[in-house]
């Protein structure tokens, strides 16, 4: 499914700001799935991720006038979604992460059999035990496939500090998985 007019993001943002509210749907449609996976892995639940993505788009609409570079809407939107995901984790720190991990299992499609599915569940549970920063760098690199350079640019941070986070994440994951196997 493609929008008929391949209008650039900047053009759509400017049109919305000029009063053509309905065109915002084009941006939503264009990017709603782009970070769906990121939000799902960050929050451990497709439902929570859908809420987060929805909220982020609404918030982005509210703050659209503050998008300094309309051509770079998607990067700016990512940061809004990111904040929303981080806020969610803080709110839900106490709720059963096991519940969320089971939800992720439901997302599993049939491939590789029961052992792979169990591995995935274990890994997702372990991911939820990391800090949000550690989980994020792991998800961006190993799920979304970004390089350290790309992540650094997106998060406005340095590669060495990202690697430090990641290496701590590796250690914690290994510890989690070893303890619970």
């Amino acid at each position: 499914m493609r929008p008929e007019s391949q209008a650039a993001d900047g053009e759509i943002v400017r049109a919305v700001l000029a009063g053509d509210r309905e065109r915002y749907a084009q941006l939503v449609e264009r990017y709603r799935d782009r970070y769906a996976r990121y939000a799902t892995r960050m929050l451990g639940s497709v439902d929570a991720a859908e809420d987060a993505v929805q909220d982020a788009f609404v918030r982005a609409y509210d703050q659209l006038a503050q998008c300094k570079e309309p051509e770079k809407f998607v990067g700016w939107f990512f940061l809004i979604l990111r904040n929303r995901c981080f806020a969610e984790r803080r709110r839900n720190r106490s709720s059963a992460s096991l519940e969320m991990a089971n939800d992720v299992a439901a997302v599993d499609r049939a491939d590789g059999g029961a052992e792979t599915a169990e591995q995935r569940r274990a890994l997702q549970r372990a991911l939820l035990e990391l800090t949000a920063d550690q989980r994020e760098v792991f998800v961006l690199k190993h799920v979304e496939g970004l390089s350290y350079g790309e992540i650094a640019e997106r998060l406005s941070t340095s590669i060495p500090s990202l690697k430090m986070r990641m290496h701590r994440a590796y250690d914690k994951l290994r510890e989690q998985l070893r303890d619970h196997t």
Binding site: M1, P3, E4, S5, E22, Q26, E29
Partner: protein, 219 residues
């Protein structure tokens, strides 16, 4: 529009959910619902049916089609409803919403306004014409060219065929096609058979008026 209309409609409560807003609620984007309201109000004022608009909007949303594309499709449906209505009026049939909707379907299937007028000129009543238009559209969707299509359906209608016979025309064409006939050949063959029957006149007791000689194929 959706939330505001839902409240007054509920207060008036004379309808069981036939309002546009209620039929679209939760199924389409707000801007699509607004467009359907806008096109529907105008259409209804001209005596046109609104079901084709509502169905197309729901279909587009269910298929995940981008809003601009759904909007284009809706405007096309509205235009085709107008064309069908005008064609029916030219054929002597005024403002029957089911017939107009059937005409719109026939146009989507590839028939023209004049094809619709030709069928309307068979003199059939609105109900029979509605079936005739649906069948004509279905035959077009099978690949029967307009000339043979209208030829077959108008012969069948003029001979006072019951609705069930009309409705089995597409299946008969498909059977003939399965045996190797082209859609045009299949339709022409069936038209000849129907004309031969018509020459003997309708069986006594069947309504449908006086027998016509078989009409020549529509040019």
């Amino acid at each position: 529009m959706i939330t505001l209309l839902a409240l007054p409609l509920a207060l008036l409560s004379t309808q069981q959910g036939t309002g546009i807003a209620q039929r679209l609620a939760g199924r389409v984007l707000p801007q699509i619902a607004s467009l359907v309201e806008e096109l529907g109000t105008a259409a209804s004022a001209r005596g046109l049916p609104i079901d084709p608009l509502i169905e197309k909007a729901i279909e587009g949303s269910a298929k995940g089609i981008a809003p601009e594309r759904v909007a284009s499709a809706l405007r096309l449906v509205a235009m085709q409803l107008d064309t069908a209505a005008a064609a029916l009026r030219d054929g002597g049939l005024d403002s029957d919403t089911l017939a107009i909707a059937a005409g719109e379907f026939a146009i989507t299937a590839g028939l023209s306004g004049s094809d619709i007028t030709a069928l309307a000129r068979t003199g059939a009543n609105a109900a029979a014409l509605t079936v005739g238009l649906r069948v004509a559209g279905t035959l077009a969707a099978l690949g029967v060219p307009p000339a043979e299509d209208i030829g077959l359906v108008s012969v069948a209608m003029r001979s006072g065929e019951p609705g069930s016979a009309l409705l089995s025309l597409p299946a008969n064409v498909q059977s003939a096609m399965a045996k190797g006939a082209t859609p045009a050949q299949a339709a022409a063959g069936l038209a000849r058979a129907a004309a031969a029957q018509a020459a003997h006149g309708p069986p006594p007791g069947r309504g449908g008026g006086h027998p016509h000689p078989p009409a020549p194929p529509h040019p």
